[in-house]
Symmetry: C2
Subunit: 343 residues, 2 copies
C-alpha cells in the first residue's frame, strides 16, 4: 500500500515551505516556475490529490461545521465554541474543532485536511502568524472553490467573507472613559507584543479616550509585554514612581498579576489602583477583589457566526448555486461588567 | 440531489433513539426484530451507508487523530488536548476535536461522523450520560472494526482498550492525609452529584484516609452538590456550626467559592479553614490566597494517550495487520502542589 502523501511531507522532501507547496499546487504565479513544476511533478509522482472542494460539495453535504481557532486554553475561544455548538446542534449540524496553535503552517494544514470532504464550511479566527505574514491564500482558495467561510474576532480586511467582530476600539474607549469618569488620570495600557489586529484597535480606543478628555498621552504608559513576569517588574516600577493610578489590561492574566503586584507593595485595589481587564473569564469572577471587565460575549459571537454560516449553506442548497455575494460584518456589542477592582 | 441522511434524522423519522438506530444498523440482537428491520429498510431506502471502517482503514491513512471530550470550558481537558497535539504533531499527525457536551447521543453521533474516513483512531473521555447508561456499543463497534481507541480519565472497565488514568483514589488519599498531618480532623469532601467513575474513587480515597487515621467517618461531611450557590449555602452552615476545619473539593470552582464564603463570615484561610482542590487550573494559581491542589497533569495524560495511539497505528501499518491485543492501562502520577490555602 502506497500511503497518501501530505502537504507537509512534500514540503519536507523538497525543502520548501508548506505555503510554497500549497501555492505551487494551485499553480500560483507567486512561485517561480522551477519550484512550481518541481512541486507539481513530485506531487503527481506520489499521487497527491489537492482537494477538489467544488466536486465534493456537489456530491455530498456533511452537515458538519469546521472551526479553526488559535488556542484552546483560553476562556474566550471556549465560549465561542459553545456558542457555535448551540446554534449548529439546533440546526442538525455537527462541529469539528482544530487548533492552529497560532502557527500559519498548522492553519494551512488543518484547512487542507478539513476542506477535503469532512465539512461544509469554516468558522475561523486567524493565527497570529497568519496576521503577521498577511498570507491568506489558503482561505481565498477555499472561498473561491465555493466553500463558505465566516471569520470571527481576528479577521482581515484582505478577505471578502462574512465576519463577526466586536468593536474593539469602542470597547477600549468605553473602559478607559469609565476610569476617567472615576477621576483617574494616570492610566496605563498593558497589552501584548504581537501582530493581532485587535491589539491595535484597543490601543486606538485607549488613545482616543485620553485625547477626548484632554489628558496628555504618555507613551511610557503603553506597556507591551510577553509574559506575567515582565508585567510584574514593569508595574512595580511604575507603582513605586507613583506614575499610575489605573490600568487597562488586555487580558485577565495581566490584570490579576497587576492586582497581586500592587497588594505585595501594600497598595490597595481599587483605592490606590483601579484595574479593568478585557475578556470576561473565570479568573475575573473569582479573584479577590473581583475584576471589572469588558465582556467580549464569546457565546454571542459563536451563535452569530454559526447562524451566518448555516444561512449561507442552506441558501446554497435551496438555490442550487451560490447567491450573489453580499457579505456582512456583524458587530457584537460589548459592555462593561463593573466589579470590585474599580470603585 | 438526494442529501445523505444522518443517524439523527433516521431516529427522528422513526421516533426511536439514536442508540436504537445505531444498534439496528449493526443488526444487534438487543433490538427487537420489528424495529431492527424497520430501521434497516428505512436506511436502505434513503441510501444510508453505515461506516465501513475496516475498508477505509485498508485504503487510506488519514494521519489524523480524533479526540472526543465532554466539555471545553474546562482547564483540565484543554491541557490534555495540548498534550495530544504536542506528540501528534511531532509524529506528523493532525488532530480533530469534537465535544460530546456530556451527552450520550452527541458522543455516538460524533464518533459515527469521525469514524467515517476522517481519522485513524480515537482518544476519548466518556460523557457523564454514557457512564450513567453504561452503553458503550458505539465504542465496541469502532474497536471491533479495527480502529484503535485510547480512553483517558473517564474510562470504563467494560471496554478492552488502551487507557490513561490517574490513580484518583491514591490522589484523594494523599490530599486528605496531608490535611490530617497538619492537625485537621473535621474534613469535608465537596463533590459533584454525578455518575462519573472518578467521583467514586475520590470518595473512596477520602474515606480510607480517615479510617487509617482513626478519624470517625461522618456522612454529613460528604457534600454532593450541583452548583456553587448550593456550595455556599451548605458550607456557610457547616462553618457556623464549627463542624469543619478543612475541605477537600473536587474542583477549583468549589474551592474558590468555599474560600470566599469563609472570608465573608470573617474566617481566615488557612488558619480557620484549610482548602485543597482537585485539578490544578488557573483559578488556583491566581486566587487570593492561592489554592493547594492535586495536579492532574493533563498535559502528560495527553502526551501518553497520543503516544499509545500512534504506537498502535504505526505497529498495524508495519505488521500489515493487527497485533495480538495486549492493552495497557497507564497510570499518570499526581502530586500535591502546596500553596497558601493550606498552612
Amino acid at each position: 500500500m502506497k500511503r497518501k502523501i501530505t502537504l507537509k511531507q512534500i514540503a519536507k522532501e523538497l525543502d520548501v515551505s508548506i505555503s510554497t507547496v500549497s501555492k505551487s499546487l494551485r499553480n500560483s504565479l507567486e512561485i517561480g516556475e522551477d519550484t512550481r513544476l518541481k512541486v507539481q511533478a513530485f506531487a503527481k509522482f506520489y499521487n497527491y490529490k489537492p482537494n477538489n472542494i467544488a466536486l465534493s460539495l456537489k456530491n455530498r453535504k456533511t452537515k458538519t461545521i469546521g472551526i479553526i481557532i488559535p488556542e484552546i486554553v483560553h476562556h474566550f475561544f471556549s465560549t465561542v465554541i459553545n456558542g457555535v455548538e448551540e446554534v449548529a446542534n439546533e440546526n442538525g449540524y455537527s462541529v469539528i474543532i482544530c487548533l492552529s496553535d497560532d502557527s500559519f503552517d498548522k492553519e494551512v494544514l488543518n484547512m487542507e485536511m478539513l476542506a477535503n470532504g469532512s465539512i461544509d464550511g469554516f468558522i475561523i479566527s486567524l493565527s497570529k502568524e497568519t496576521q503577521f505574514k498577511g498570507d491568506f491564500h489558503h482561505i481565498t482558495e477555499v472561498i473561491n472553490q465555493g466553500m463558505p467561510v465566516v471569520m470571527f474576532d481576528r479577521v482581515t480586511n484582505d478577505i471578502l467573507c462574512d465576519k463577526v467582530i466586536i468593536d474593539d476600539k469602542s470597547a477600549a474607549y468605553e473602559a478607559v472613559q469609565s476610569l476617567i469618569d472615576k477621576g483617574r488620570k494616570k492610566i496605563a495600557l498593558v497589552t501584548t507584543v504581537d501582530y493581532v489586529s485587535v491589539g491595535k484597535l484597543r490601543t486606538d480606543g485607549y488613545t482616543k479616550a485620553l485625547l477626548d478628555n484632554d489628558i496628555a498621552f504618555n507613551e511610557n504608559l503603553i506597556i507591551k509585554i510577553e509574559d506575567v513576569d515582565t508585567c510584574e517588574i514593569i508595574i512595580s516600577q511604575l507603582l513605586e514612581d507613583r506614575a499610575i493610578d489605573a490600568v487597562f489590561a488586555v487580558n485577565e492574566l495581566f490584570a490579576v498579576t497587576i492586582i497581586k503586584t500592587a497588594n505585595k507593595m501594600g497598595l490597595r485595589v481599587p483605592e490606590d489602583l483601579a484595574v479593568i481587564a478585557f475578556t470576561d473569564g473565570i479568573i475575573s469572577k473569582y479573584s479577590t477583589p473581583t475584576i471589572t471587565t469588558v465582556s467580549q460575549s464569546g457565546n454571542k459571537m459563536g451563535n452569530k457566526a454559526a447562524k451566518m454560516l448555516i444561512d449561507r449553506l442552506e441558501l446554497e442548497t435551496e438555490e442550487g448555486e451560490d447567491e450573489e455575494e453580499n457579505y456582512k460584518t456583524e458587530v457584537i456589542e460589548t459592555h462593561l461588567i463593573e466589579r470590585e477592582s474599580t470603585d
